[in-house]
């Protein structure tokens, strides 16, 4: 018996020894340097040189830990980690032991682990994009990054769209510094200053009207990393050949109280920096009253064409200087003063070869001409406004002026003649708008006063004298001088009220608008050094008076996410024309209406449906009347005697949009139908030499158009890549009257453009875009022309090391049977520890020197061969501050 006990005891002892040889216990206490016990410290045990965790413990509130280790190895790696204290790693023998630690605080780790956040987030109607997640090392300005955000598009001009609609405000820290001329900020603000970009969906910029007046458009808000940022960017560059310069300097001070931006930019590299002062975001105008056009163009001197998808920098031959200042300062609580002043001086030269084909039912006329233009523009503009925008009061007084002068020197060579055209088109305007909305009980009272005046004494001369059959009884003459002066005064005043009752909102406006204007024009001819007037039938002395009394009642019903609204604007218009030289006058009084029905429904949080229908009646603009002939350019003579054109327009539209911030998936599908019924038909008399005379006939005329669009974009977080697709189809139908023949003209167009941005590795990313476009035109049902265009755009960025960037741009165009290739190269070096970058750019490596574009109008196909900028090298120093 005793023997058995001894054996049993020995066995137990052996067993215990066996067990204890494989299990070791490491225990101890962890404290801070002040000997305070630390809880939640990880104590981790790894076999030596192994990354695989085998055992661990977490300290309790007394700082105590016990780790049981079941490992055969001789030594162990012990690691202590936590967020607030230093990380300790040591190698220990694999045996039971007591180890106490005293840790020093260390929060560095915390700072490094907190870089990861949702790239896109949604809170109610606000979508936030975290710039850190989207920016690439090739990007410089916030505009470069905006282009990559799903749901957002940036057009070449700098205009920003969200879900296919232009944004209605561009804020920085909630302030609108530029009053819609936001490209000045977006294309100069370094993205490093920005933390997030927010989109406010369905944004109503006037706070007192929130929840009362619906807006379909969104606004963009830039949130800065620092609440007050001195930032901006600059560039000094030079190159050849010829001698090139490119200078930009745009410092900004941005905060949520006060903002300041100044800019000077000048170049002759084809960069049209004046796009930065274009006003892209503006408030929607009410249907009534009809307002005068924003600028005044008495002659038809159309600007450079946009060459189908071709980057302006490839062909624009310019010398531009731009200076701009934007200031926004708070005066009192809630009251802000904002000023914008800019000056542009631009010289542009352009040379192109035009091949114009006119398709008529019986005939096809084809004409060639070589067009050379030198255009100088000077432009001064200033806007000053005082603004209060709170939830109980809105006040805005805006004063602005414009002084502008453009000079055109054109030389046109056609098969028979060399034509010289010269025009000066000065223009000046002044306007003041006062707008006030305040609360009266639960209702709102609104008041607005708008006064504006503008004028343009403009001149055009053409040599040799055109239209000699009409102008000079079929005799040759040297020069035609057309002078014309238009002076316009316009005033509009209204009062309105906005009432809210339960789910109903009713608003109404009553207003009166007055427009007075005079047009004085005369044509003189110079023959053999002798200048004479062309006669009475070439003299306009036209006074126009237009009075409009209008009311805009609107009713809106809102329940949950459904909104239905009905507007029924009415406009009583009296219009009187009086020509002193013909001693005639004509007048018309008309009641015009513009009913509109719209429905908006939001469901499931992600979907939005809009449908609307509206009907608009309008009367021709006083600017479009010429009792006597007027020369519009070297090949257009116009006379639109006193017929009043009434246009009845019907627009039906529907759209469906889906956006999901969680999956970063944005889609919109929209359809628009427009039907226009006009009481007049413009008749074109096309001459053999391509010049034409336009007259108006009292003949009803209907045109229709359909437009379908689909846009989709998706961001794939794991790949840091985005995909997008834009596609559209357009159909226009109408009747055209040329050379006394009336025929149906149909144009059809479809577009397909997929795009991918792919971040392959940290040292390589690329962007690939295709534009596929087909335009067809049918005359009386027969296909007369079909233009196909394919454009492939490929851009690749390589980062051999952190500081070097190599970029290749490849563009390939195909029109029917002609191919065009463009290659550009860029190298950028970022200096260590500074915000300077050196950039060398070689544009148009292949030295492609011309580019052909085809364009389809009603019955005309215009093929333009545009001279391009040659192969050029530019070296510049960029900086941001």
């Amino acid at each position: 018996m005793r023997k058995w006990i001894v054996i049993g005891f020995t066995l137990a002892l052996v067993a215990f020894r066996l067990q204890s040889s494989s299990q070791t216990l490491i225990s101890g206490k962890v404290t801070d340097t002040l000997n305070k016990p630390l809880r939640d410290i990880n104590v981790m045990v790894y076999p030596k040189h192994s990354g695989i965790l085998k055992a661990y413990a977490i300290t309790d509130q007394n700082g105590r830990y016990v780790v049981e280790v079941n490992l055969e190895t001789d030594s162990l790696d012990l690691l202590l980690s936590s967020i607030h204290f230093e990380r300790i790693k040591l190698t220990i023998p694999n045996q039971t032991q007591k180890l106490d630690f005293s840790l020093k605080p260390d929060t560095k780790l915390l700072e490094t682990i907190t870089v990861k956040a949702n790239p896109i987030d949604q809170n109610g109607d606000t979508i936030s994009y975290l710039i850190e997640q989207f920016k690439g090392r090739e990007d410089q300005t916030i505009e470069d990054v905006l282009k990559k955000l799903p749901g957002i598009e940036v057009e070449e001009s700098g205009k920003i769209l969200y879900q296919g609609l232009p944004i209605n405000k561009f804020y920085v820290e909630g302030l609108d510094l530029t009053d819609g001329r936001y490209a000045m900020i977006s294309s100069n603000l370094p993205h490093e200053s920005v933390s997030t970009v927010e989109v406010f969906e369905k944004h109503q910029p006037i706070r007192i009207l929130e929840d009362r007046v619906y807006s379909q458009q969104a606004a963009l808000n830039i949130k800065l990393k620092n609440k007050t940022a001195y930032t901006g960017s600059g560039k000094i560059g030079s190159g050849f050949e010829p001698w090139l310069w490119d200078v930009k300097f745009t410092p900004m001070l941005l905060s949520n109280k006060m903002q300041l931006l100044a800019s000077y930019q000048s170049n002759n590299t084809g960069d049209d920096v004046s796009r930065q002062i274009n006003r892209f975001a503006r408030a929607n105008k009410a249907v009534f009253p009809f307002q005068p056009s924003e600028t005044l163009s008495l002659f038809d001197l159309s600007d450079l064409e946009q060459y189908a998808g071709l980057d302006t920098k490839r062909y624009l031959d310019n010398q531009i200087h731009l200076s701009n200042i934007n200031v926004l300062i708070p005066l009192k609580k809630d009251l802000q003063l904002r000023a914008t002043v800019f000056y542009v001086n631009d010289l542009r030269r352009n040379q192109s070869f035009e091949d114009r084909t006119y398709y008529l039912p019986e005939d096809t006329i084809r004409l060639f001409q070589d067009y050379k233009r030198k255009q100088t523009s000077r432009y001064w503009h200033g806007t000053f406004d005082l603004n209060r925008n709170t939830s109980h009061n809105y006040l805005k007084n805006k004063t602005s002026f414009t002084l502008q002068k453009e000079i055109f020197h054109d030389r046109i060579l056609n098969e028979t003649d060399t034509i010289k055209q010269y025009a000066t088109t000065p223009y000046s305007s002044f306007s003041n708008t006062l707008n006030s909305i305040f609360k009266s009980g639960k209702n709102l009272i609104e008041f607005q006063s708008l006064i504006q005046y503008d004028q343009g004494p403009q001149e055009l001369s053409v040599a040799p004298g055109p239209f000699e059959a009409i102008i000079n009884s079929n005799k040759f003459y040297d020069t035609a001088f057309q002078s014309a002066t238009l002076r316009r005064f316009y005033a509009d005043h209204f009062v309105g009220s906005n009432l809210k009752w339960k789910r109903w909102i009713f608003s109404i406006r009553f207003g009166f608008a007055l427009r007075l204007q005079t047009l004085q024009s005369k044509l003189e001819i110079n023959s053999n050094g002798e200048q004479t007037e062309a006669g009475d039938s070439f003299q306009n002395q036209l006074d126009a008076h237009q009075y409009q009394i209008y009311t805009i009642p609107a009713l809106q019903y809102k329940f949950k996410r459904l909104r239905v609204s009905v507007d029924w604007p009415l406009n009583m218009q009296q219009f009187k024309l009086q020509d002193a030289s013909f001693n005639t006058s004509k007048s018309v009084s008309k009641l015009l209406q513009a009913p509109k029905l719209s429905i908006n429904y939001n469901f499931g949080g992600f979907w939005d449906v809009n449908a609307s229908w509206y009907y608009l009646q309008r009367l021709s603009d006083p600017d479009n009347f010429y009792f006597a002939y007027m020369l519009k350019n070297y090949r257009e003579l116009i006379k639109t005697e006193a017929f009043f054109q009434q246009t009845n327009q019907q627009i039906a539209s529907a759209s469906l949009s889906y956006r999901n911030a969680i999956t970063a998936f944005f889609n919109t599908l929209s359809y628009v139908f427009v039907q226009r019924q006009m009481s007049l038909t413009y008749s074109t008399q096309l001459q053999e030499n391509g010049s034409f005379i336009v007259t108006a006939l009292e003949l009803p005329n209907t045109s229709q158009s359909h437009n379908i669009q689909f846009r989709s974009s998706k961001y794939i977080h794991a790949l840091k890549s985005s995909l997008s697709l834009n596609t559209s189809f357009m159909l226009n139908k109408g009747k055209t009257l040329v050379n006394n023949e009336s025929f149906d003209a149909v144009t059809m167009q479809y577009n397909l453009s997929p795009e991918i941005f792919y971040q392959t590795t940290t040292w390589l990313n690329f962007n690939y875009k295709i534009h596929h476009n087909v335009m067809s035109s049918y005359i009386s049902g027969d296909l007369r022309s079909q233009i196909r265009m394919n454009r492939h755009y490929f851009s690749i960025n390589l980062f051999p090391t952190d500081r070097h960037l190599l970029n290749f741009n490849l563009e390939y165009f195909r029109f029917d049977n002609t191919d065009y290739n463009f290659v550009d190269m860029m190298y950028r070096y970022s200096f260590p520890k500074s915000r300077f970058k050196l950039e060398a750019r070689w544009n148009n490596l292949l030295n492609s020197n011309d580019f052909l574009t085809q364009y389809n109008y009603q019955f005309t196909v215009l093929t333009t061969t545009q001279n391009l900028r040659p192969s050029q090298i530019l070296i510049s120093l960029r900086f941001s501050f």
Binding site: I58, G124, K560
Partner: protein, 283 residues
């Protein structure tokens, strides 16, 4: 109190008609969002997870997803639905500004829908976690020791997102769970009730992948926010009893919807919806 219960019922049942009923009741004097609460801790670190789950075992193709947040305080952490958290916050802001009616009219809840009304406070009380949820008309809570979840480390390592991670396994609430934690983020916490690994749990799913939590963001703020607990008449119970109560609610959905004032159609909708929700995270 009663209106508030109805409001919560809406969250569970997704019966929009009941919402109208509340508004029609015009009982806006009661506190909706601006409820008294106690501050337990504060946080400046917020971790967002995406939960992807299948709520209907008869239709496993239907996958839902939502964002959840883990607020990491110095002592206590709180886990709940992001939408629930944000809706409560903006609602409270509106209520404090005296604009509750306007806020309700905006129907903001459409943007903040959630399926999860629970709140989990870890290390509250110390060494335990407490689960808060409602089973209408009651608000319930239960506490369990943190050690209830026992982890087994596995040798497998991988990188999840940008983080090196190691696999671990546990069994809890009738499911086998596979977790990935990273020592790059030495926060011993994770989604739902899961915690206690030496590093943040960045992904966890049950064996069948009916419930998957994946981390997608860590955000740190300059400013600290409160970790709150609403002062309600929380009924203290046990996990088992809570699950029972929840099951009873599910079986009794018709009469509860009726009690809440829903019409017959809504009652039926609620019933049908509830039938589809047959795959709870714990059983």
């Amino acid at each position: 109190m009663f209106t508030l219960s109805l409001l919560k019922l809406h969250n569970i049942l997704s019966i929009k008609l009941i919402w109208c009923f509340i508004l029609a009741g015009n009982n806006l004097n009661a506190q909706y969002f601006d409820f008294p609460y106690q501050v337990l801790d504060s946080f400046n670190l917020k971790i967002t997870y995406t939960i992807t789950w299948k709520e209907d075992t008869n239709n496993l193709e239907r996958i839902r997803s939502e964002k959840m947040i883990l607020m990491v305080g110095s002592e206590i952490s709180k886990f709940m639905s992001k939408n629930f958290y944000e809706y409560k916050n903006i609602g409270r802001k509106a209520e404090r500004a005296g604009q509750l009616q306007e806020f309700m009219d905006k129907n903001e809840y459409q943007n903040y829908r959630t399926r999860f009304s629970y709140q989990i406070l870890k290390n509250y009380p110390m060494g335990s976690y407490t689960y808060f949820n409602k089973v209408l008309p009651d608000f319930m809570q239960y506490t369990e020791p943190i050690q209830i979840i026992q982890w087994e480390l596995l040798d497998e390592t991988d990188s999840i997102g940008d983080y090196p991670a190691q696999k671990a396994r546990c069994s809890y609430g009738g499911r086998e769970w596979i977790a990935w934690h990273t020592n790059s983020i030495p926060i011993n916490d994770g989604p739902y009730k899961f915690q206690g690994l030496p590093g943040l749990i960045i992904k966890i799913n049950d064996k069948n992948e009916h419930y998957v939590f994946e981390m997608d963001a860590i955000e740190r703020y300059e400013q600290y926010f409160d970790i709150e607990l609403e002062d309600r008449e929380w009924i203290k119970t046990t996990r088992e009893n809570f699950l029972k109560a929840e099951q009873n609610f599910r079986h009794d959905i018709l009469s509860r919807a009726k009690d809440a004032g829903a019409n017959v159609v809504s009652q039926q909708t609620a019933y049908r919806n509830m039938l589809k929700k047959n795959n709870p995270i714990e059983f």
